[in-house]
């Protein structure tokens, strides 16, 4: 993983540098024109958010059932990135909504659900901070349940009539009529996922250092 990190960082940076060009080259969407282009980053950040949640859930399970301390570190890294990318998605969505619908916030199902799911991972971080001794285990429980409930939250949205354009837009893009938009969407999603991977790696290394420090403190007291 160490060896891959530098190239990962370079590729991510490169993709982001080139992204504006990719986006500029897409055609205008018929109703929203330039404003619609925020979609490429907005959607991509939700992809990264989903990845973060998945990582947090699986890592929490590893920590809870196998006692793996690496699992705990990965879980907290995943949760922090879920909060980060979720916040980005909510803010970009809000900005887009302001321009497209005229309001900063709509009690639209999709946005509300995203906010709820975001709350779950903010609670994860709160539990770690204020849960007292044994907080890592409580947080792991929260991580597993949070990751498990997110698809249900997503599904409830799908079944609730909504004005949010996203579901239909993504499907429409996939049918081959607008290859440049589809490509831009994929490109940005990949860029965000690589960004997620980079940040995750950095965060994991930070947690690893902290664990090492704990180990040294403990070893200091050992006579052997």
């Amino acid at each position: 993983m160490r060896k891959l990190f530098a190239p990962l960082l370079i590729v991510t940076a490169g993709m982001f540098a080139y992204a504006p060009i990719v986006i500029a080259n897409t055609r205008y969407e018929s109703t929203m024109f330039l404003v619609q282009k925020i979609f490429y980053f907005h959607f991509a950040s939700w992809m990264a958010w989903a990845a973060a949640i998945g990582v947090c859930g699986v890592a929490s399970a590893f920590y809870l059932f196998r006692g793996s301390p690496a699992g705990d570190r990965l879980a907290v890294a995943g949760a922090e990135l879920a909060v980060l990318f979720g916040a980005f998605g909510l803010v970009s969505g809000s900005l887009w909504g302001r321009k497209a619908w005229g309001v900063w916030w709509q009690w639209d199902a999709r946005l509300t659900m995203a906010l709820m799911a975001e709350l779950i991972f903010v609670s994860y971080l709160l539990v770690r901070k204020y849960g007292g001794p044994g907080a890592e285990k409580l947080a792991a429980g929260m991580g597993i349940f949070g990751a498990a409930t997110t698809p249900f939250i997503y599904k409830s949205v799908d079944w609730w009539r909504t004005i949010h354009p996203q579901t239909s837009v993504v499907r429409k893009l996939g049918d081959g009529t607008v290859p440049d938009m589809y490509f831009a969407m994929l490109y940005c999603s990949v860029a965000f996922l690589l960004l997620f991977a980079s940040l995750l790696t950095i965060r994991m290394q930070l947690e690893g250092r902290r664990a090492e420090l704990d180990r040294l403190y403990l070893a200091l007291e050992d006579p052997s």
Binding site: L64, G131, G134, I144, K155
Partner: protein, 226 residues
Amino acid sequence: MTFAKAAFLVLKKDFTIEVKSGEIVYTTLFFAVSCVLIFAIAFVKEGQPVEGAGAGILWIAVLFAGNLALGRTFERERYGETVRALLLAPAPRAAIYVGKLLGIVLLLLAAECLLVPMVAFLFHAPLFSRPLMLTAILSLGTLGFASVGTLFAAMLVRSRTRDVMLPILLYPITVPVIIAGVLGTSALLQSPVDEPMAQLWIWMLVSFDAVFVTLALWTFEPLMTE
């Protein structure tokens, strides 16, 4: 000591304690009723209840009362640390979870028996048009909420900040239950009754319950050992 027997013993013990003092039952029911009345004040405009408010109010009352009941049930195990004694029983530890879960579900169902007629009466909500479907939505939703709630209340039992943390952790996770419950009940309140919609939400609740009861059974023991 089989799983089922241990769960039943825990349930019976809680029931015995409740029968003597009635503390949790009375306070929960009273709280649920006052919830509904408070919402009545907020949602009645010029003497007429707001259209379609019945479903939401019913579920909010159930969820708030449930949160309270969960806290109180485990408070009982915290005093004297009887949680440890239960964990030391020679039965699968998840049986303790099931016993507690059944207790909470029964309590909330009892509250709902009181709340449904009350909401129907106060809010002119035709909740009795499809009794079977309503029962399905209420019981499945209650089970879903209680399954996560019992687990979280148990894992927080030794935490200092338990009272605050329980709702913070519980409500976001049970959002699908809240949505499905409210929308499913609303579907039953439309005229004509929107049956396919209600059925859709019933299926959502069934899958949520299946997933989360299973998850809770798996994670109970690791979460309860330090």
